[in-house]
Amino acid sequence: MRPRAHQTGTVAPSIPEQARGVRPRDAEIGPEATDIELTVNGTTHRVRVEPRVSLLDALRERLDITGTKKGCNQGACGACTVWVDGRRVVSCLTLAVACEGREITTVEGLADGDRLHPMQRAFVDNDAFQCGYCTPGQLMSAVALMAEGHTCDDAEIAEWMSGNICRCAAYPNIRSAIRQVRDTAEGTRKGGR
């Protein structure tokens, strides 16, 4: 089913405080679709989903926030990486209903208006992609990685980025981009947690 009008788009108005809390948080919902609230990049959206809908599908199919990509849909590729409460997770194995009351950050939340996040800038500078499909997930992992502090050398970067597969094998340039941000103070401006 398609979302109702107020559920679509990143420009959906935030819901006034008094209108929040569509039901008690411990109420049983489903299996039919139910209104839930998702806070994405600081904006709270009301969206109608069945409990079986993944966070990934809720973002892409219901909210039209399509920067997050669907690759394997089984937790193996990392294309769908987002942050939930500041921690990088795979949104394909996360139920949307389980994210009520949590802060979701997607790749759309990295840039400051038209000003790219330093990691996005570094990916451009280092040609850290070919087809670009895995890039949103790579970025969300790479920025989180800075905050996690596992950027000592290329081996450590590779190990801690291994949850993000790149079929174009842009790995050397992705590591270069991460090193670039690591080596500039600006890199920690907007960390993962």
């Binding site: 921690r87 389980a98 009520e100 980025m161 949850g163």
Partner: protein, 334 residues
Amino acid sequence: MRSFAYKRVSDVATAIAEVGGDPGSEFLAGGTTEVDMLRIRVARPRRVVDINDLPIAAIEDLSDGGLRLGGLARMSDVAAHPAVRERYPVVSEALEKGASAQLRNMATLGGNLMQKVRCSYFRDVDQACNKREPGSGCAAMNGFNRTHAVLGTSEHCIATHPSDVAVALTALDAIVHIQGPEGARTVAFDDFFPLPGNTPDREHPIAHGELITAIEVPANPAARTSHYLKVRDRESYEFALASAAVVLRVERGIIAEARIGLGGVATKPWRARQAEAALTGAPALRAAFEDAAAAELADAVPQGMNSFKITLAQRTLVRALETVASAHGGEGNA
């Protein structure tokens, strides 16, 4: 994915009552196995009960120097915890060699013990699998079984237990704390994982509605130099072909105590008691390590495509023993 209902709970008693009182309900923690199982229709609950808000995620000191790891502690948080890294490096190493950074942020310790096998025939509902459909047969027996087990198998199931951290925890004699409708109880780690035998569908002693609330790791000073070695097809984000968790206590070049777990080669996190017996009292030398590894794999049963694991497991164990022995200043580093 089939439809199901959802309920979020915030305390242990409610969680147990909700699932224990409804045969169609299942717990949902990190979801890294459960959501996958729901999607491929191997798991078919009427409802999932979300336990992520339960206050059982802490990592706490035990009075004797051990640690109590909450059932909902995330893999990443356990691995990064200073006390775990200092007292049980084998646990941190096993955790950080498992899955990916994203999955480790999601997956819980309790869920890790409860995770399903990675046998592709178990996950394909069109294939025979005694674990999924008792009595239907085992398609892996004559199938593509390169990654399957050589220890602890039966004619009904050869699926490898996938966990890394459980291999470390079995070597440390951890204790699983369980709470359920009938009250609280503990299970010794090695007893938590039955052999498949005639009932491969019985994967653990957890009754419906029971919850893993904590895993206790007893104090073990020798574990401060423990080590987990994992060998796999690619260097990261891959299951073990063979792995070894090793804790040694070496006194004047003689092994006073050995605790060993093997992974990637067995139907359960494998406590290598035959290797431990062979090592106890032996000099910390490569020859003794090789003899011990050979003793442990003596009863291994290859399935055709996985016979290489018998050699690989021995080499993996020998190398892990050498690493730990050299940390003791023994001759393992010769």
